[in-house]
Symmetry: C3
Subunit: 360 residues, 3 copies
Amino acid sequence: MSPARNPLAGLEGRHFISTQDLNDQELKALLDLAEELARGRHGKLLEGKVLGMVFFNPSLRTRTSFEAGTFQLGGHAIHLAVGQGVWKLEHRDGVVMDGAASEHLKEAVPVLARYCDLLAVRCFPSGSDWKEERKDPVVTGFADHSPVPLINMESSLYHPCQGLADMLTVRQKLKRPGGKKFVLAWTHHPKALPTAVPNSAALIAGRSGMDLALAHPKGYELDPLVMRQLQENADRLGTTLEISHKLDDALDGAHVVYAKSWGSLKHHGNEAAEKKLRSRHRKWIINGDGMARTDGGIFMHCLPVRRNVVVTDEVLDSPASVVVDQAENRLHVQKALMAALAGRLPRPATAPKRTRGGGS
Amino acid sequence: MSPARNPLAGLEGRHFISTQDLNDQELKALLDLAEELARGRHGKLLEGKVLGMVFFNPSLRTRTSFEAGTFQLGGHAIHLAVGQGVWKLEHRDGVVMDGAASEHLKEAVPVLARYCDLLAVRCFPSGSDWKEERKDPVVTGFADHSPVPLINMESSLYHPCQGLADMLTVRQKLKRPGGKKFVLAWTHHPKALPTAVPNSAALIAGRSGMDLALAHPKGYELDPLVMRQLQENADRLGTTLEISHKLDDALDGAHVVYAKSWGSLKHHGNEAAEKKLRSRHRKWIINGDGMARTDGGIFMHCLPVRRNVVVTDEVLDSPASVVVDQAENRLHVQKALMAALAGRLPRPATAPKRTRGGGS
Amino acid sequence: MSPARNPLAGLEGRHFISTQDLNDQELKALLDLAEELARGRHGKLLEGKVLGMVFFNPSLRTRTSFEAGTFQLGGHAIHLAVGQGVWKLEHRDGVVMDGAASEHLKEAVPVLARYCDLLAVRCFPSGSDWKEERKDPVVTGFADHSPVPLINMESSLYHPCQGLADMLTVRQKLKRPGGKKFVLAWTHHPKALPTAVPNSAALIAGRSGMDLALAHPKGYELDPLVMRQLQENADRLGTTLEISHKLDDALDGAHVVYAKSWGSLKHHGNEAAEKKLRSRHRKWIINGDGMARTDGGIFMHCLPVRRNVVVTDEVLDSPASVVVDQAENRLHVQKALMAALAGRLPRPATAPKRTRGGGS
């Protein structure tokens, strides 16, 4: 009898664009490995491996956690900031390149893949046409042209490493999340922020077996593609999906309050109109009264968070807040992910001893 | 009989904000270790350790010496430049964060501490109110919120790593600095520079057992807190502290000439007034005539130095100049410091063999 | 009898400014080592070594390939971007430094050499006086002041690491390049680009034993110093050197088409005049018709390349294009180069066994 195959073995060489790319077995195995890595060092799983990180937008947590994690596993991460030490990159096909971009992804990505064993890219929407931006042309272009595994460090639609960290946090804090209530709560903010984090957070709520309540003002609907995925997750896993336009109602009986601001996709790229709509909803803030409605719920946020705009000091400084643990989990899930994509899994320590003569 | 405890053992887990944080035994032991490290490799004292360096201001020497030194000891340093790839950080309590800063130190620092084993921060004064800036709110905020050792890479008040390097240089070049004369000489410069370096240089002069002469034009007094510390050092160690407003007089019989420009704290933040005062003192430059007054003195400067403004080519290119050795010593003292703060001291090579049955 | 000395042993401690610094034996041995390194890992040749990379201009390939290569050999590369986290540097002698530059190469370079075992610098011409810029004052200044090996990562005149990669590519693709035809073809481009790459490409064509045809519009002559070196190479090695002002004619029978745009040195620094001249030559593009004239020639370019301006999609996406292999070779030649300059050559695996008692 051969031992059960590690579900992570199937991740070797694959790209990682969304948590939806992983089946339930893979997702569970990845979080198991992340927890194992969190408990201590597991040798140099990425010994000699190079990760190339391409940032079109700034980063603190993402860069630091990837760079630290790669090093801790014996590898090395290279930080490339486009437009700041690195020139602009073109992604469109057939273009006469006489504009600002001096290199096409068709060259840049295969070349980086000759130097690096893994690639990672971050590219936020620029605030132009959402119909185009929701296709994630840059991240998709990297994926199309990369012969080595590509990790999405946040695109227009997804922030899947954050999603993994969020799911690990839910698992650690709730022990048995199945059937409990996860509220994704829109909040006010001085700027119209991207929707990648709320999308990924909502997607992993269902994958955790939790009932999901989306709470946001009218006009702040998530992208229809994501809504369809949320419904599919709910149908398949037997959980519920609700939408509420009243924050207080949504918070009733919640076990997880995930606060996040995002911009209205209806007014994507129209700053004035979006701001006008947003300014009507300054009361969307998570405070002590809101948390009192929950069922001893935990407070989650992806960070960076604006204190006393998104959430009050009172909540953020209370024991209910798990935001720092959530951020720490970025490190562990990303290490597990890189090891899996690079095909460098630790040997199963818990595997039963092979009986002599047994095959594999 | 147990062997004498290594004074550096007490540094494990501590922050390092000023050389005044170290007692005389610790300071001596730290420089001893730095000299030992300078003589060759001592294994991988920082194996697997991550240093997170947060720069609010640019750096050449500090960044390179920390990054090289961490690597040489088996660790890895991450370079984070705030406002250039990393967003702005808030440090004030209770603020409604609807301005430029998108993250508070209360989140950023604990999160970095989950990824990094050591943190280091550089934050110069911004030229606003000196009463506020002298409290070093950013560096103090990092220290308050960091559960891992924090190293000051230059704050408004102190540049203690430079101070350590300066003290090591004095020890190497003068052999017996006790009772010799250390002149901290203000010089002209096109800009009003911070006072952290002169403060730290003056503080270590006393700690080296040297008599200190501060030479600067009227209006360029150092901060009263530092003056008090200088007087305390002098009283405790039996050295002298003098202030002179005539450069030539001060240089008479000097063994160390430490040149450094700084801005008048009286006019801190008032560029025009400061410039007007400064422009009267263009003759404050270290040249061959000045050096001829010394007792075969060495010339020190923390670098970067503006040639023929702060010091003439003649002096800087002479054998009296030790500025490059001084910069090299940054590497050695910082390696010793990191090893001590991380609790990773080398095993004592000179310890007597334990007799069988002897306890510790 | 002692075995033949490795020609690379003579490179230890030397600077590398131009491929012309290497004699034929050294050049061949360096490419041999690069091919050996390309075939697999060869231990940690740069174990514990630090490379300091100083960029006055942005980079993708150069930085990534150096950083990845140093890591793969057990070392660490530090990325310093002047004017972006690092202050400006003065290179002129005897200057009163009251301007923008706050540090002189005379201090900055020796200090970096105390922290780093190897240095590398990139400094493009700034578009001022070509008579001054062609002296490469910054790179030359680094070389003059550096006690450790200095690598030119692209100066006004040379991009020798690109040249090495180009020569390795020619060797791999043509097997026996001797006597075959290498066309360096000027192309149109939206900007006046530097001449370092065409210079270095032309120089290695001769060194590869190939006949060189320079094809460019009138007014786009290369620097006379380089033309003299090209003629010397041709004379010494018995190859030919031709200049053509008709792209089609030059392409006839070519085995290598090396496309590259550059600005007219006649109008160096006069953007308007240069642009006017350049705008007359939009037809200088490499397309399928041009490639059809060659003798099954390969297409080379240093990247980044502007599609459908310098070369058509048709050519760049055809099997004739070797641009990604060329870029990969940067990694291998630079690793070989660093190992040689650092005096860390691999032990000869193919050396005959020593007979007992034999000397060395």
